[in-house]
């Protein structure tokens, strides 16, 4: 089956509108584990816990608070949150074209692909080609899952990629990171330059792999072959019969049922 669409609509600028759907471009390769109870291998659940009352809190007693100072909160309801949520986008409207080189990679948030829907293939190909040739990317505002994003649409190998960008206010200041300038000897400068040059190569991401992930997967495969997996206990009802009154009433009722049959 084709990759599940996260969103579908149109991408447009000036008079062009292309029907597209948005799909994931990356799948993080994290190996995830279930937490089990060591005694009987039951999968464990997360619950919300109230330390004050020393007990679990049911969902209908959970509300949201924004912490303004230690132990001081402003309460906010689902309705209030919804009232300020932006309306879902139907189109990705490109408002500006920029040079992607001008966008510092620190602004990159999350990558997606745009896939053309039926009838949009030709216009899609034209847009990809024009963007590739001019080396430009389109900027647009786009609402995805209750949040409004600034996004860049660029061409990559015949397809359109959409990258959500951080807003500038999300970027932390870096002014104190760079040390003050000091005099450096010319000889030292050229030595560093030379060592870098020696190590220059093309970017080949295939050369690198997540070593830990591979080792974990190998380990799991080996263990699966050698050992029978442990099993969670079947959720078996405890043997209690129920309230004595009810049992008696049911037995009485059952007697009548059988008599009438």
């Amino acid at each position: 089956m084709a990759e599940q669409a996260i969103w579908s609509g149109t991408i447009s600028f000036s008079l062009v509108a292309i029907p597209v759907r948005l799909v994931k471009a990356v799948e993080p390769g994290r190996v995830s584990f279930r937490m089990l109870h060591s005694k009987d291998y039951s999968p464990l659940q997360r619950r919300m816990f109230c330390p004050e009352e020393d007990k679990m809190v049911p969902p209908d007693e959970i509300i949201r608070g924004y912490e303004i100072a230690p132990e001081k909160y402003i309460l906010i309801t689902d309705e209030e949150l919804e009232s300020v949520s932006p309306e879902r986008s139907r189109t990705i409207e490109i408002v500006e074209f920029i040079d992607m080189k001008e966008v510092d990679s620190i602004y990159y948030d999350h990558p997606y692909y745009l896939v053309p829907l039926k009838g949009g293939e030709k216009a899609y190909r034209l847009l990809v080609e024009a963007m590739r040739r001019t080396n430009k990317a389109g900027l647009a505002k786009f609402v995805l899952g209750e949040r409004e994003y600034l996004v860049a649409v660029k061409s990559t190998e015949g397809a359109l990629a959409l990258i959500t960008l951080h807003y500038s206010e999300e970027i932390l200041p870096d002014k104190d990171i760079a040390p003050k300038e000091e005099k450096v000897e010319a000889e030292e400068k050229s030595r560093i330059k030379k060592s870098i040059k020696k190590m220059i190569t093309d970017f080949n991401p295939e050369k690198y792999a997540d070593g830990r992930r591979k080792k974990i997967m190998d380990l799991l495969k080996k263990k699966a072959k050698e050992k029978v997996p442990v099993e969670a206990p079947e959720v078996e009802e405890e043997e209690g019969e129920g309230p004595a009154d009810l049992i008696a009433a049911l037995q009485e009722s059952m007697r009548k049922v059988k008599k009438n049959r």
Partner: protein
């Protein structure tokens, strides 16, 4: 891919892939599915109302892969009503509420052939408005064995002054509902009560009934699944289609009808197809209406 934009109650909805055959061996397309749900909407909507819908989607039809979707798809139109409900893990989840025809049509456009809903409404997830007995036949049993068990349940409950209602699951079983519609009855109560009932029937009819979930106990018997009485469980909604070879419906029956059928030997006779569902509901009205309104208290708890 064909698209058709329709307007319902002023809401615009784009329907896609209408010619897609979702029940290929029977020849029933997405357009047929939408038409079935449109015609049955008057009857099914009250039973879906304000309940967290679990979508069971068959984008490539009943013979191909399906997937469950508990969360309301993120791309839902702005007019789809949603609710926040808690999950076991304590986090919140946004779910769809199918309260009107336009939402029902939208959900069906996503090929959610089966509509599953909890026994409680989204605003009060711990308070079921009915108690259910899910009668599930083992491999060598069939729906006729379920009919016998359902009739025993009806009589047993009626002696305790509890009225019950029955529907086909649309697959192999029957579902017996006991309306409660009381704020004070919790899942803890319905679980305790239904379990005691299941045990009693099983003890008295050991050749017919098992109260154990394991398959090996079930073979030629009917399993009375009382554990459906739980806030995290869902039941197939009455009037929902099932994803079988044919478009069969989970349909309410009269007890009288069940009594007449008990002596039959054709299990398929009990199944109600899409067209029959529409015409019967039109004639007899909603046999499950009382499930939503009748107030009953579980005694001896």
């Amino acid at each position: 891919m064909s698209r058709k934009v329709v307007e319902i109650a002023g809401k615009r909805l784009s329907l896609s892939n209408l010619e897609k055959d979702l029940y290929p061996s029977y020849g029933f397309t997405k357009a047929h599915v939408l038409e079935y749900y449109r015609r049955i909407s008057k009857f099914i909507l009250p039973h879906l109302r304000d309940r967290a819908l679990t979508l069971k989607r068959y984008p490539e039809g009943v013979e191909k892969d399906f997937f469950f979707e508990k969360r309301c798809p993120r791309h839902h139109p702005s007019w789809v009503k949603t609710a926040e409900v808690g999950r076991d893990e304590g986090e919140q989840m946004t779910v769809c509420l199918v309260n009107d025809l336009e939402t029902l049509m939208w959900v069906e456009n996503l090929a959610s052939l089966e509509l599953h809903v909890p026994l409680a409404r989204a605003g009060s997830t711990e308070t079921p408005d009915s108690m259910v007995f899910d009668l599930d036949p083992g491999d060598q049993a069939n729906i006729l064995n379920c009919v016998r068990v359902a009739l025993i349940l009806r009589d047993l409950l009626s002696n305790l002054r509890l009225t019950s209602y029955v529907k086909t699951s649309g697959k192999k079983g029957l579902h017996v509902y006991v309306p409660l519609n009381r704020e004070k009855t919790t899942f803890e109560d319905t679980k305790k009560f239904s379990k005691a009932v299941a045990r009693t029937v099983q003890k008295n009819y050991p050749e017919l009934v098992t109260a154990k979930m394991s398959k090996e106990f079930r073979k030629a018997k009917v399993f009375i699944n009382w554990s459906q009485n739980d806030s995290s469980k869902t039941m197939i909604c009455v009037y929902s289609l099932r994803a079988r070879e044919k478009p069969v419906v989970s349909f309410p029956l009269e007890w009288k009808e069940l009594e007449n059928l008990a002596g039959q030997d054709d299990p398929e006779k009990l199944q109600v197809m899409h067209s029959e569902a529409v015409s019967r509901a039109g004639k007899q009205g909603d046999l499950f209406r009382e499930v939503l309104v009748k107030k009953q208290k579980l005694p001896h708890l």
